[in-house]
Amino acid sequence: MKFFEIFELKPTFKICQNNLKKKFLELQKKYHPDNYASASGHEKTLALLNSSMINDAFEILKDDLKRAEYLLKCNKIEQKNQTNPEFLIKQMEYEDYLEENSHHLNKIEMLHKEIAQTLECEIEKLTILFNQKNLVAASNKMNELIFLSKFKTKLKQRMHQII
């Protein structure tokens, strides 16, 4: 829970992004090595370590999926590397669709929209599970969510390439 403590946040899945960002900038202004350019070697090293940790923590907490994984890890919930068969079939269908339509900007845009909506919806569900402290169920959802997120990036990259 160290990362939440750094930003003085409660260790919950739902966090206020504005508060996180505000606190991040505040902390960096205090600990960034640039503020220690003429300090002793020891202070410089300390600043480097602190500032690195703040950056690392911020990167994890600002991202919904990374934050979820971090919470699960802190609660010692093992993530299973299994995806339910139904979703696996869906996954393959998505990939096939992208391959068949890899040059159709419109179709990729449509799929991107659909995936984005699904992802948003699933994250809502994940929030509820975290609120209910149902961490095992939350953990079981992670594989699906990670696929959706990666696939969304892949679609966006493809769209960028076509344009």
Binding site: P33, D34, A37, S38, L48, N55, D56
Partner: protein
């Protein structure tokens, strides 16, 4: 009456507390040095010159940098392109200098033997440092040096080494676009997202920055290291060659045509069309070019820059409409055609009222001032890694440890395991780049982790930690975890020259500097001694009759002593002998002066009395 100076309360006051910090734009074509003077970032000029050509000339006994050497042959230019690279990284077919092709690293042939790009760059930095110390009559506390955002680890390390060699303490390396944003004082304006479009002589750079709550964040960077203003000269050159059906051209002809092309390009920034004759190989070259034609020729090049802009926006997850301001940097952005297209692309007017050649140095000076702890504004720069960093795993594949565009400083660790049973060593190969195959990325460093306990394959655990500091410099360490025995190795990325050679180069440069100085002072004093001997002997020959016997003897003895000392090569003793001779001849000089005035009055030709 002299006015007493009173400083503002709380600001740095007494002269000895002032820390002279400078900003350096170490450019491919030109370099600049700037400093904050009475609160205003100012370019420090070398005489009348604000831009110092990044050109170096090695003579047998000295090294010259900048304007004085432009007419010479064998000048080394554009050295920044080769800084931090190995021979295999560069195209050796069209180099502007001779290199030693037998070696893995780049060694350039000069009058003073083989020199590395680091040493040559350090000569430019020494010159810039000298300009600043002479201007302020003070030592430099430290410098902020700018580097292109796309510079990799090796290139950044090489820049730092060059600074060290020049005796400059580097407060921070900052990315050129970030410096430009600081120059425009975007940090004093409202919060927002800014694009920095930097088209220099040989490189193009685009960065997306966000400024909010006193912090500058680089969101993404992109660019093309071999696209710049020179390419626009080339398309004009091709047009000249085409219009005049020029046949075979040697390298001197090309140089001449390059200059003509550059001149035409500059004229087209002010005029809509151009029709002129140029003298070329005793012929007249006719050139007609309208800005519309130039635009058509240039559009492909501009498109290339726009593609980079699109990539940078994509990486930052932004649209064109998210950009609140566009800063233009680099002399090439003066071209109206560029201004037009970029304005059109971003759908807004551009920030271009500062001199585009100077903005980077100005911004560096501001940051240098802030880092030497003399600023009241507390803007913070949060930079990102320009390229991904990773290590080689089985099958020529890269495992990325720190992805591109991560905010720095950052530390990341990842665990790896052994491939074979009883494997006791592991090769850690650090690479940088975006490609998946090791061979297609830049190799930064390689080291061996020893003393892994012999275990079945996959049982040992090795944690590799990457630490990138605020300058984007990387340190890698690896430790073996299973036994609790920690073996830790730290490496700094190399660019072919290891730490030991750097230290040797440093030592050599100090020794050379000392012998250089001694040599110079001996040579200078011998010239002075010979002059005074010649003058005295001449004077004795003409006006010896004015001296009494004692005076005559004293002068002759002093002359003899001085001649002896010259042969013994000790500058200090020569100086003493000169002083003795001067003393001996003081009254003689007075008598001669008196005599010459009388001679003149009595109608003698005064030209015969040359003293």
């Amino acid at each position: 009456m002299a006015l007493l100076q009173i400083s503002e309360p709380g600001k740095s006051t007494e002269p000895h507390q002032r820390r002279l910090s400078i900003g350096i734009d170490l450019g491919t074509t030109n370099s600049l040095v700037a400093s904050v003077i009475r609160g205003i970032p100012t370019i420090i000029s070398d005489g009348d010159h604000r831009l110092i050509p990044s050109k170096v000339l090695y003579h047998e006994n000295n090294v010259l940098v900048g304007h004085d050497i432009l007419e010479y042959k064998n000048i080394i230019s554009s050295i920044k392109r080769y800084l931090g690279k190995k021979l295999k990284d560069i195209d050796t077919r069209s180099l502007p200098f001779k290199i030693d092709k037998e070696r893995e690293d780049i060694f350039i042939q000069t009058q003073q033997g083989l020199k590395t790009p680091v040493e040559i760059s350090s000569e430019i930095l020494k010159k810039l440092k000298q300009i600043a110390t002479e201007r302020f009559q003070d030592d430099i506390f430290g410098a902020v040096i700018t580097v292109p955002a796309y510079f990799d680890e090796g290139q950044r390390q090489a820049t730092k080494d060059a600074a060290q060699l020049a005796g400059i303490d580097v407060l921070r390396l900052i990315n050129e676009p970030t410096a430009a944003a600081l120059a425009y004082g975007l940090d004093t304006k409202k919060e927002g997202i800014y694009a920095i479009y930097d088209l220099g002589g040989g490189t193009f750079d685009i960065s997306i920055l966000r400024f909010s709550k006193g912090v500058f964040e680089v969101l993404s960077t992109n660019g093309n290291a071999s696209l710049g203003g020179d390419d626009f000269d080339q398309i004009i050159k091709h047009e000249i060659v085409k219009q005049n059906s020029l046949g075979h051209l040697n390298s001197e002809d090309h140089e001449k045509l390059n200059n003509i092309a550059k001149m035409i390009k500059e004229k087209l920034t002010k005029n809509d069309s151009l029709s002129e004759q140029f003298n070329f190989k005793n012929h007249n070259l006719n050139v007609r070019l309208s800005s519309k034609t130039f635009e058509n020729l240039a559009i492909n090049l501009i498109d290339k820059t726009v593609q980079c802009v699109k990539n940078a926006l994509f990486d930052a997850d932004l649209n064109v409409t998210d950009i609140d301001g566009v800063v233009m940097v680099g002399g090439s952005t003066r071209m109206p055609v560029i201004q037009k297209y970029i304005q059109h692309f971003f759908k807004q007017s551009l920030l271009n009222d500062l001199n585009p050649d100077e903005v980077v140095a100005i911004g560096a000076a501001r940051q240098a001032q802030a880092l030497s702890g003399q600023n009241d504004d507390d803007t913070l720069l949060l930079d990102v890694t320009p390229l991904s960093l990773g290590i080689e795993t089985m099958g020529d594949l890269v495992e990325k440890i720190i992805p591109r565009n991560s905010t720095i400083p950052i530390a990341k660790a990842q665990e790896f395991t052994t491939y074979k049973d009883s494997q006791t060593m592991m090769k850690i190969h650090v690479v940088q780049g975006e490609r998946e195959k090791v061979s297609e990325n830049r190799s930064l460093a390689e080291f061996i982790l020893k003393d892994i306990p012999p275990l079945p394959a996959g049982a040992a655990k090795v944690r590799v930690t990457f630490q990138v500091d605020a300058d984007s410099m990387l340190t890698v360490s690896a430790e073996e975890l299973t036994t609790g025995n920690k073996t830790k190795v730290e490496v700094k990325p190399s660019y072919g020259i290891d730490d030991k050679s750097i230290r040797k180069m440093l030592e050599d440069s100090f020794i050379n500097a000392n012998t250089d100085r001694e040599f110079r002072s001996l040579a200078e004093i011998v010239v002075e001694a010979n002059q005074i001997i010649e003058l005295t002997e001449k004077a004795v020959a003409i006006d010896g009759h004015l001296l009494d016997e004692n005076e005559h003897h004293y002068i002759q003895k002093s002359l003899l002593d001085l001649k002896k000392e010259i042969d013994l090569n000790d500058p200090q003793k020569i100086k003493q002998a000169i002083d003795t001779l001067n003393d001996a001849s003081t009254s003689f000089a007075e008598k001669r002066m008196d005599h010459s005035v009388r001679s003149a009055l009595s109608g003698k030709n005064i030209n015969n009395i040359d003293y």
